[in-house]
Symmetry: C2
Subunit: 304 residues, 2 copies
Amino acid sequence: MQKRADGKTSIFFGKRDFRALDDRSWDVQSRLRDMDAEAVHLQVLSPMPELLSYWMDVKAAVALGQHVNRTISDMVKAEPNRFLGFGMVTMQDPELAARELSVLRSEYGLIGVEIGSNINGVSPGDPKFDPFFAEAERLSMPIFIHPLHPLGKERLVSQSPQRVAPFVTYPVDTGLAAMSLITGRTLEKFPRLRVAFSHGGGILAAMLPRINGSWKINQAIKECFGYPGDAARQFYYDSLVYDADFLRYLIGAFGVSQICVGTDYPFQSRQKHPTDFLKQLNLPTGDLAAIMTDNARRFLGISA
Amino acid sequence: MQKRADGKTSIFFGKRDFRALDDRSWDVQSRLRDMDAEAVHLQVLSPMPELLSYWMDVKAAVALGQHVNRTISDMVKAEPNRFLGFGMVTMQDPELAARELSVLRSEYGLIGVEIGSNINGVSPGDPKFDPFFAEAERLSMPIFIHPLHPLGKERLVSQSPQRVAPFVTYPVDTGLAAMSLITGRTLEKFPRLRVAFSHGGGILAAMLPRINGSWKINQAIKECFGYPGDAARQFYYDSLVYDADFLRYLIGAFGVSQICVGTDYPFQSRQKHPTDFLKQLNLPTGDLAAIMTDNARRFLGISA
């Protein structure tokens, strides 16, 4: 991390200047000011996805993970009524990742885990990650999946592909991750898992009607996995989709009980004033309360 | 092509047994029987996408294309009141593809062209295809884009990935193709182009809210291309999405004027009785008529 003249801090990975962040990424008081201004009572902190470090050797990734988990843990402890924390584990070694889950809770007081939409190009539905999901289910620990190093960059056409990538390839990767947990039967193997996807599940909502429709008329597909629409209604999704009509569609497709508030805070494309956005939908009071608080509590496994 | 004992015909590409087809792929009377039974007055015939042959050397692809275009042309001529035809061109050589467009019309009587969602891994929005799009615009020739050799197979998890691929990776490829024409400014360069996407545009509908939302708040994105939502409302999309709620969402997102009937006829996952499906939406009469006939006529450039 390197301080800049404008007060921000540049994040380097080796020599690569990844992104400039301001102190809202680590300073509790800065965050609280925005939260108060935007009617956010409770934030769940999670690692910046690029820090997940699945491409590092295990020893280095464990060390970085300890630092990240400790930092989040300290922020939560500073304001335990306003923050909860999700940690990171070493998914490049799924057995180790499974063992790290209980450490997240016991050592760091973190209540869940964030993983990437792929682990070095492998979908999370791959059976090699079963030990991780089995342990998350056993511990009743929620999992948040965020896009990371997505596929499809070679298909972008733009004068500035790197600017466009987060808006085109991120949702693709998220949707493919979700679909892999469905078609790979992860949710069938571990039916009590609680898994949430960022950005409204990315493209899952648009893939689902087609695979649902085919499943109904195609015996060969039916033999491969259960009805995808049922699995999709077990996942959780955040509301970070910018568009009231699309969120209304997601509520219908996934169920009003499965949508939680997401913000991408504090990054550039974050959604400010998330409850103002939700109020645009003119939902029944109970549905609005479900999305604003109850669903997140159920996903997180915390009481009111 | 090899006849089988069950009456179907196996299609081989080299030694690869691609798919077994019945005579509805080439026999006019067989098709007419289904059309009459399913209230389809007019079908637009187009090449089975695997025949597009972008991976062949140009000379072989031209020869195959001539056979395919001739076959479709002959079917149309046999029943000109029930069929219209789209042909194929040699997109691996964009300049040649541009020249072939007028031949499709003059020699074969075909009114449009089908292309794949990528050309050997390159998105159609790549500037190298500008000569093709410029000529299609000049000739006022409609373009139909169908998924072909999609990316993302390595991300599928299933006991039978090849069965799942058409339902997961096809819509991704279609959506990325559409997005490339938006972010690559193809539609801005050739504003009178008429381009339709199969399967309701695949995942485009789920990518669009995110890039629209970011475009509005991010000056760097705004400088790269015009508002994506406007471009998306210039494209045409077929109704082949199996799900009435999702189609209703597409009508809102893309405009009722942009949806045409699609069927994937005669393949396994085809949508039978397409008008019965549309009637489930309980659309106003004018909207139903637009989707059933008027929009397709406008896309195809034919009068009533």
